[in-house]
Symmetry: C2
Subunit: 432 residues, 2 copies
């Protein structure tokens, strides 16, 4: 039933292991120029860390710290010991680099294999990885986990929808890794080909890399007749394989033998009470090449406090609420794009695509939402459409506390994406 | 000096090993539906193969055979034992699929690591793989070899030239895998950035996946101040790692502990005398999941018969002359695009790009060659240009026995490619 011993540890055993590995990780981190200096600055004696609670006294590491340390100041071992690096896209500035030793890669692959095993994938499964490969961790990260588990792994890569469908069918693929917006897009290609995706042997999808709502999940599960399991990962903590849903589909178990998660108030950095939303902070416990201490992920989530019916005692984090940085402020309200998606996807009239546009009229911010409507609801009768429009606006207002301008548009009229969907356009002029 | 024991085997030891592995491979292949039937058809008793010479009595396997066996009739083990597949692009029909067990992948990575070690790469090197990943074997194939050798491997993937250059510089990359036409193209981006690629720490390039001439190699070596080593591989025999140049840069050693190479007359299938050109035929000796017997590669080459000064006794094949299928017939002459490239690239006036266009005027085939000329030679004086044009036409005629129409064009005026270069356009109407 379990992939490895660590998966079935009790709370007590997990915490004992975590403390031991935290101490080891701190000693290892102290060998890097970055942490050596950081620990010195805050007068940290790594040997004085005697309990898991002491983690609160350790300094945070931010994305900016990693950027400032570019390219190799966080390395805790000679570069010649490293066998791979991944680099973040660096669209918002200097890229960040994560280095791995062979041992780091082996552990990462095991964690990923454990995720896949947990949701029922086995060596007899045929697994198609629809992630882009290369520097992005979703490609090689998932790939190596699938091979480690022993699945027949198809490195399909991103895009080329007709070939993806041919592979799915010809090789009787039972498991996939896919981005939710692409999974929705692919249904339109299936429709063009006159193929019902529910007739495929596909059973299980690993879904991550992009925020999506519970309603989108249920819709995808119905469209493909498969189970979708949410994955959480970030390149700073290797990539995929950090936290993963079990078959309960309620929260993602963080592999606490490899990571030490905390939830803090993003403004103060103080821990929030268990069960409250805050920013996820992660410490790697299993990495020798480039340990990272208390990384500020910018992701907003909370711990689920009840024991999971599956019996695993690795703590669960809730579906991400958004990123600290994604939060939109409109008329003084904090809004996450995910809130809007959740409402839209719960309405049967709404199609697969939508777009959020932020605008400024004079001094007033407005939010406009363009929504694709399914053909059968896109009727001639203007009164019916007007009523639907009002209903959507009102449901959104209840959720985000701002009344948006809602525009109904025909199926396939909004820009499509083969990669991560761009859901928000900010047209507000920046003030001087 | 050597990466592993197999690299330093004597001829006698190689051949003893080959016979043993050929016998094992035949017994393994006979477990697949395809070979079971094929062996039966030609009344082959695999136990009757008692010498390497007996290989001549074995049936060939063609690309079409693999297509007809799509998706899994050549599998010699249950599909559940397989952990990866690669699929050819299938641009010319049904794709072909190659399956690998974990043991197959480990051996493949070792062969690739051996190639890289042979030309001087070590675990202290930083290696940037500029191949596309995914189903194409040049990505994961080279990647896994580099990791196995212990290089710090950067999975850069294809394209995104500015990022490629940033990675090369920021991480002091010493080894790369690159397609020759892209390496040439990249020099134009370096020039735009005002960076001389010769100032980089880059020492070694693995170059393959596309035919290119000795003159192109020398030019690339000078432009980057690095050594370029030619690589030969094909997905049917795993991918890269089949044959590789040593530091003599004269012919590629076929790893004969893993492959049994033959050269045959493409028309008759009979062996050609040692040293003569013909079609390369390959048998896998190390694959358990999907052994392939006497695969017709369609690649034209010859064995180099002298012992290699490097001391390795694995036989060398010469630079590929072209593919059986690439051969152009113009006015009754057999012409390979590589012959034209070789001449053009030996002339200092010629730039990085050219295009071969086949045309038909009435009943007569013509060959037109558009050639980019370097800025310093692209002068106003029409007489000088006319003289250069005649000189190129005459040198080409000496090589291909047909006088081409030569057009001189300015730098950057021909279509560029970030992937495999398209060098030949055939505009001849097909007869009814």
């Amino acid at each position: 039933m379990y992939y490895d011993e660590a998966e079935k540890l009790s709370r007590l055993e997990i915490e004992r292991l975590q403390l031991m590995r935290l101490q080891r990780t701190l000693r290892q981190a102290a060998k890097s120029p970055f942490y050596k200096e950081r620990f010195k600055e805050c007068g940290l004696d790594v040997d004085a860390v005697k309990s898991l609670d002491d983690v609160k006294s350790l300094p945070f590491t931010t994305k900016q710290d990693l950027r400032d340390s570019y390219p190799d100041k966080v390395l805790a071992m000679p570069q010649s010991e490293m066998v791979r690096m991944h680099v973040s896209s660096g669209t918002t500035g200097t890229p960040t680099v994560i280095y791995h030793t062979q041992k780091d890669l082996d552990w990462w692959a095991s964690l990923m294999a454990r995720c896949m095993h947990m949701v029922g994938l086995r060596r007899t499964d045929v697994f198609q990885n629809m992630s882009g490969y290369g520097l992005f961790t979703g490609g090689l990260g998932i790939h190596c986990g699938a091979e480690k588990l022993g699945c027949l792994t198809i490195p399909a890569g991103a895009g080329n929808s007709h070939r993806q469908i041919k592979l799915l069918m010809d090789f009787k693929v039972t498991g996939i890794h896919i981005i939710p917006s692409y999974a929705l897009y692919l249904t339109t290609i299936f429709a063009e080909l006159g193929i019902d995706p529910r007739t495929l042997p596909l059973r299980i999808a690993l879904v991550g890399a992009e925020p999506y709502s519970e309603e989108s999940r249920r819709r995808l599960e119905a469209l493909y007749d498969m189970k979708c399991y949410n994955s959480y990962g970030l390149s700073e903590m290797n990539g995929p394989g950090v936290a993963f849903e079990c078959t309960e589909q309620h929260g993602m178990h963080v592999w606490e033998d490899a990571y030490l998660p905390e939830i803090v108030d993003p403004a103060t950095g103080e821990p929030v009470p268990d069960g409250e939303y805050g920013e996820l902070v992660m410490t790697s416990l299993g990495r020798e090449g480039m340990p990272i201490i208390r990384y500020r992920t910018r992701d907003i989530t909370r711990f689920l406090t009840e024991p999971c019916p599956c019996g695993r005692e690795h703590r669960r984090i809730d579906r991400l609420q958004g990123r600290c940085d994604d939060m939109m402020i409109v008329k003084g309200c904090n809004i996450f794009p995910m809130q809007i998606e959740r409402i839209l996807m719960s309405m049967p009239e709404v199609g697969e695509n939508y777009l959020i546009i932020l605008e400024r009229d004079g001094f007033i911010d407005n939010i406009r939402v363009k929504v694709e409507i399914r053909d059968e609801f896109f009727v001639e009768d203007m009164r019916q459409l007007g009523s639907l429009q009002k209903r959507i606006a009102s449901r959104l207002r209840d959720e985000i506390l701002v009344t948006p301008r809602v525009e109904l548009v025909e199926r396939n009229s909004l820009p499509k994406s083969e990669g991560k969907a761009k859901r928000v356009v900010d047209n507000r002029e920046r003030g001087a």
